[in-house]
């Protein structure tokens, strides 16, 4: 589809209310769905932009950008994927804009209250697929456990989901007993799930990185959106959802 690049005559002409809104496509990790849906319209109003949000696993979004998808902003659930894209010249220098907490999630009435309980045989565990950040954080974390514990948890894994929404869905539907997600995903379920904090020595550092896609037709507007993730309506929405500020 030809996005009317020609009508993006000038991204800086914000005052001109009569001009049609400039289209800005934001590819963001699924874990930011609720937060960005709240703040994107506000950003759009301020900038006279029509912000299109596309949520999926960070890896899938990166793959779309590699396949030359028309995207202006890439916001991932780790810093590695943006760095990789930057190294390949696909996005401008990325910034870390938020942090998240990696937790064990269980249904609200579950008896599970520590990672030890998840080692019990027969506990149904869902994790992220190896290719998504949540999946690699999970494996990274489990690798820090004593080998027999790591082995028994991995043996309990019943599904490797392509994004966090799949993990949360399996948990809220009672299809699984425990899963590894971000604390913000648990917050977003409004009480259906509870988060169990992991011991500090296990907890991975979860940083969210974002950058302007090199081929964006609206680089200035895209840059302002990225800036707004650390300071602006979207920064507020992210913190409201439970994200930590950029380090």
């Amino acid at each position: 589809m030809a996005v009317a690049a020609g009508c993006g005559d000038d991204e800086s002409s914000q005052g001109a209310d009569s001009s049609p809104p400039t289209r800005l496509v934001v590819s963001a990790a699924a874990s930011m769905t609720e937060a960005l849906q709240k703040c994107a319209p506000r950003f759009g109003e301020m900038e006279n932009a029509d912000v299109k949000l596309s949520f999926a696993g960070s890896d899938e979004l990166a793959a779309q950008i590699r396949q030359a998808a028309k995207v202006d902003v890439y916001a991932a659930a780790n810093a590695k994927l943006p760095d990789d894209l930057h190294a390949d010249g696909l996005i401008d220098t990325p910034v870390v804009f938020a942090t998240n907490e990696f937790v064990l999630a269980v249904p609200k009435d579950s008896d599970i209250d520590s990672i030890d309980d998840v080692t019990k045989k027969g506990t149904k565990v869902v994790v992220g697929s190896q290719s998504v950040p949540i999946g690699s954080y999970t494996r990274e974390t489990l690798a820090k456990l004593p080998p027999d514990q790591e082995k028994s948890i991995l043996a309990n894994v019943r599904s490797e989901e392509p994004d966090v929404r799949g993990i949360v869905g399996k948990l809220t539907q009672g299809a699984a007993d425990a899963g590894f997600v971000y604390v913000t995903d648990v917050n977003a379920t409004t009480g259906e799930l509870k988060a169990i904090k992991l011991p500090d020595e296990l907890e991975p550092e979860v940083q969210y990185g974002a950058g302007v896609v090199t081929k964006s037709a609206q680089p200035k507007l895209a840059k302002r959106f990225v800036d707004g993730l650390t300071d602006g309506a979207c920064a507020d929405a992210l913190q409201e959802a439970g994200f930590g500020p950029a380090p």
Partner: protein, 268 residues
């Protein structure tokens, strides 16, 4: 002839664009993946597991569909009763349902928290996140394709054949098995092929209801999706395998039938 000229040209143009549009992605899959990649991808453990799982679950679901669907379609095709069109519509509804709706529906119905979830659990059956769950998802999305075609096939059989077998003293059951099924076979095979293709390609309902785990619930489409981001070449190669298998099914059905049931193999 003059007006016929431009009309024929536009018909040809439309056909050419349809053909190009429909075949280009398939050609691209093979153009982008060398035969070496294709064979390499088959040597990879996860790919083999996915292929084997897809074949197994599809075979089981097609067996269930044939076993239950054939008599059901026969009943609908040979009886007139109140509310029949409602039943037919309900049966055909999954044809037009988005896969995500099928997945949510299955979770709400037979998932652990679904309306029948408790009863199923009490019976000691586990569906979500299991291979059995994959079969349920495939059967749900694929069976309407068979039922629809089978109803049409039975409906097209000359009733005097069945009546003749009845007057010769055969029971209806015998007439169904010995007369109706053999006569309707081309249509039934076509329906089974459509259902098979749909089952092999099932993605959304499987992911939502059964999850994705290598060797247990990760069918070929799910394996392709899993590789899409990390290993596009491998995803292409697996896609190539799926195209080849699906193409082979379609082709063999057409050859077996000599061209009738799927709408004419021959051009005339």
């Amino acid at each position: 002839m003059r007006t016929g000229g431009w009309f024929a040209v536009s018909l040809t143009l439309c056909l050419a664009s349809a053909l190009a549009f429909l075949t280009l992605p398939i050609i691209a899959i093979f153009a982008d993946s060398s035969p070496v990649d294709l064979i390499d991808s088959l040597g990879e453990r996860g790919a083999v597991d996915a292929l084997w799982l897809s074949l197994r679950t599809t075979a089981i679901s097609i067996a269930i569909i044939l076993l239950v669907g054939t008599p059901a379609a026969y009943l609908l095709a040979t009886r007139a009763f109140r509310g029949k069109s409602v039943i037919v519509t309900l049966i055909e509804l999954p044809l037009v349902l988005p896969p995500a709706v099928a997945g949510i529906g299955l979770l709400a119905a037979v998932g652990p928290a679904g309306i029948l979830g408790g009863a199923i659990e009490a019976a000691g059956i586990e569906l979500s996140l299991t291979t059995a769950g994959v079969v349920v998802a495939l059967t749900f999305v694929a069976s309407p394709f068979y039922l629809r075609q089978a109803m049409a096939a039975f409906g097209a059989v000359d009733r005097s054949l069945l009546d003749a077998s009845r007057t010769l003293g055969a029971s209806e059951a015998r007439g169904f098995l010995r007369v109706m099924i053999p006569v309707a076979v081309p249509g039934l095979v076509a329906g089974a092929a459509l259902a098979l293709g749909r089952a092999l390609g099932e993605f959304g309902a499987t992911l939502m209801f059964a999850g994705s785990f290598q060797g247990v619930t990760q069918t070929v489409p799910l394996a392709i999706y899993d590789r899409f981001s990390t290993n596009f070449d491998s995803a292409l190669a697996l896609s190539g395998v799926l195209v080849a298998v699906s193409g082979a099914i379609l082709l063999s059905v057409k050859l077996v039938q000599g061209g009738d049931a799927l709408g004419g193999w021959q051009t005339e």
